[in-house]
């Protein structure tokens, strides 16, 4: 938990740097209401609320219901988070429990 706090400090500094007023479009691919999917969604909303409040949208795609959608974003692992906007497209796989990795993946944190 301590680490999380440290992270959030750095995050605040980074925030204006990355993309400013751009709208963030995020897609979360899951397959049914699995524990991993739920964890990932919870983690994602938490991070977004903290980092991108007000300028993000999350679309959850359930491949169980729409299996054909997996091919378009080249999804092979679940859960996968895809940052559609801002470009370039980024993919983060896993339940997003490692917040630091997520932030690096989303380009919200410079790789140190």
């Amino acid at each position: 938990m301590n680490q999380m706090d440290v992270n959030s400090d750095i995050r605040t500094k980074q925030k204006p740097k990355s993309g400013a007023n751009d709208k963030w479009v995020l897609r979360l691919y899951v397959a049914g209401q699995t524990p991993k999917a739920l964890t990932a969604f919870a983690n994602l909303t938490k991070i977004c609320e903290e980092q991108l409040k007000g300028k993000y949208s999350i679309e959850v795609i359930d491949l169980m219901k729409n299996p054909q959608k997996g091919a378009a974003d080249q999804i092979f692992a679940l859960p996968t988070l895809v940052r559609k906007l801002p470009v370039p497209v980024r993919k983060i796989i896993g339940d997003l429990s490692n917040t630091e990795r997520v932030l690096i993946g989303l380009d919200l944190l410079p790789v140190s």
């Binding site: 092979f76 679940l78 497209v89 980024r90 796989i93 896993g94 997003l96 490692n98 990795r101």
Partner: protein, 575 residues
Amino acid sequence: MKKAERKNSIINLPKTPTGILGFDEITLGGLPTGRPTLVCGGAGCGKTLFGIEFLVRGATQFNEPGVFMSFEETSEELTINVASLGFDLNDLIKNKKIVLEHVHIERSEIEETGEYDLEALFIRLGYAIDSIGAKRVVLDTIESLFAGLPNQLILRAELRRLFRWLKNKGVTAIITGERGDETLTRQGLEEYVSDCVIMLDHRVTEQTSIRRLRIVKYRGSLHGTNEYPFLIDETGFSVLPVTSLGLEHIVSNERISSGIKELDEMLEGKGYFRGSTVLVSGTAGIGKTSTAAHFAEAACKRGERVLYFCFEESPSQLMRNMLSVGIKLEPWVRKGLLRFQATRPTLYGLEMHLAVTHKYVNEFKPDVVILDPINTFVTGDKEFEVKTLLVRIVDFLKVNQITALFTSLTSSDCRLESSDVGISSLIDTWLLLRDIELNGERNRGVYVLKSRGMANSNQIREFVLTKHGVELRDVYIGANGLLTGSARIAQEALENSAVLTRKHDLELKKREIVRKRREMEAKVETTLADFGSEEAEAIKIIEEEQEIIKQLELDKTEMAKSRKAGIGKIATKTL
């Protein structure tokens, strides 16, 4: 026994025919139905193609749609790549026979955060399978996942799950894998796929590449264990299972002419057996090709189809050269009875040659196949391989009842019989052409070294190339051994003159007798004539004497009359 086992294996393990030429034969039916098969091998050995062909043949020949999941090439790349092999993927995709699914994994785009699984892959694959009702699946090359995903633990667990999932789906799957240093595959995929493992190999020996296929394991089934050569050409994959054949071919009692009358005479007057293997060996320039061409021409005249592989001359050169000895091959080519296949032996590896032979034979369906010459294959010390190759060709041709004629060049510095790449045991009829050097001449002799199943001549005959083709002459045995060429002609002349002299003598004797008879007759005639005249004279004298006697008596009577004596008494008393 073999048959019974085969029957068993079919009952025990259902198999899915791949449709790949020859492969179904060595696996006795194909790949295990509903199970994954691992196809591994180094780069460029044809793994992807094997997979693609499995799907394409399945879709086109066995009505089994298939899914190709590619981890390396995109659908477009793949379509173009296999189009060169005559597969129209776009068409099959349109007709819902094949689905190409490209899974792109870019390490740099991926960030791993916590727990995940590969469920999306399953879903995509499952969706693709269900969308066309696929029975066949190819995953090419799943090992790319290892490069894309850092977490090996998850990956390995997921792969295990994937293969189980594939089995549950009931699809026949091919998983390709790159060959590793010590293991069959770099990532040890064989650990997960244990039903059937096929190894493809691509080796270069002496600048010739040879592709080989081996079935490393096939659970629950018999299979050929050898390394089988295979090739990839414009019609796809073909595996050559030729050595799997036993020596069970049917034999024919039919005899076919060799095209050379005198040679037929040496072979019981009938020629070769149909379906037998004939070897014509000899030193350079001895007339091997002419013998072969004669045979080809004779076969064409009988209306049979001849496939002529020439490895040293181009067809047109060969036809021109044969024209000089009066063998016209060109009309037969135009009629479509004779076909030439000219390739340099070094063009490709031995297996490729075998495969090409197979392919053309299957295509052209000849009655006679000629390989001219076979020993150009031998480059370096590949004798053993050449022998295996020839065994396979011979077997293949025999099974198909094709009469084969091979020519073989023997170098003059080694024994004629031994140098023929060790294939003598395969040969049914072996003609040896040899040069006979005598009296400053080099002449050709031919003899039948062996001929299975016939009482062949033991003679060495002189072999002469004339404008009307090959002719065999009797060989004269003189005081100095064999007489050939001008020595033979001299001998012939000598014999001819001897006969002539005798004839003369006989004439002379006959005339003598006639003369003597005439002489004798003439003598007889003169004697007769002499006798005749003597006789006539004698008669004349006798008559004259009698006249005189008569006259004397008359005179006596007259005298008596004049004396008046009794004539009668006196006459009677005196006479």
